[in-house]
Amino acid sequence: MTTETGKLPGPDLRGVLGRRAGTLPGFEFSPAMVEAGARRNLVWTRAALDRFLADSEATVPGTSMSMPPLTDAVDRGDVIDYLQRNGR
């Protein structure tokens, strides 16, 4: 969630809760992410985000996002709370 311009490695996460994976206009998602949204019906609910933050490769195989897994459930919850609070 940023006001930076240029091609950033990740999409803008404002409003991500409830969004179908791989659909934000203007960002080039990996084919894996697009497929997850289009064919596997992945929508970024709290539960889905929790799974993704814990293990992005297992949740969306082939995702290009390179992030350390958040193994602590409380940390994941805090991140998701932040996204929800600041998403508008």
Partner: protein, 319 residues
Amino acid sequence: MHRLLLVLLVALPVLPSPARAEVVVQAYPLPAGGHPHDVAVGADGIVWYTAQRTGQLGRLDPATGNVDLIPLGKGAAPHGVIIGPDGAPWVTEGGTNAIVRVDPKTRQVKSWPLPEARGYVNLNTAAFDKRGRIWFTGQNGVYGRLDPKTGDMQVWDAPRGRGPYGIATTPDGAVFYASLAGSHIAQVDLDTGAATIIEPPTKDQGARRVWSDSKGRVWVSEWNAGNVSRYDPRSREWKTWKLPGDRPRVYAVYVDDKDTVWLSDWGANAMVRFDPEAEKFEAFPSDRPNASVRQILGRPGEVWAPESGTDRLVVYRVK
């Protein structure tokens, strides 16, 4: 524990050439769930890799297929690993925000945390200079240097903020890093630590990783643009090549001892070998979907690719 070894003989290249070396591919399965991120092979042939998901450093003996796992501590999520001048694996430990050395014989883990005031930097990759100091990048917008002899650690804000990713040292000791979010490369002053930005010719190209050839020219994998580029520090000239295919996305770059350039193209789910003299690309698609090769490193005759998506280390042996 013995692991089943899979050996795949690669078919001849699409454009066969008598001068083109044959490549034999072999895949080593790893303990499941680790999602190997980076790999480093020592002069002794032992291969180290970062099991980012499980917070461990893996050690593969290719002669037997045996894998040992070394825990790196609570909260660990290692990103990069390189072999230091002392022959040990050195890790950019993203979870604990520290530079870590694992003794190859005793397996003892020694950690140099970043200054607390810096906060979490999202440590990425490291490279040693010729003075025995290890330089590292943090994607949250920093780069730094640790002198293991004294324990002195310096961390600097990267010009233009977030983005520092791959980092490499040239044969004459210069250190360059790539900024993925910033779409540029930078050279660091080894004495002052100041970083000088070098703008590539393609805007928003997403410079992800860098590696040097034997002449000190810096090769860059361009994630957004699907290019491989080369910067010559002496002439300050750039040259750029677009990978073939519908939508190449180039994550990792490595230059082997013959100055052949190796790349991982996520668009093609393939390793790609580039001959700079002939300006020809040759693809080696993975035999599994979503291989997700995030880094490449090798030693003479061997190029190693960690497949984070398949939990395997794949070696391309050049005959």
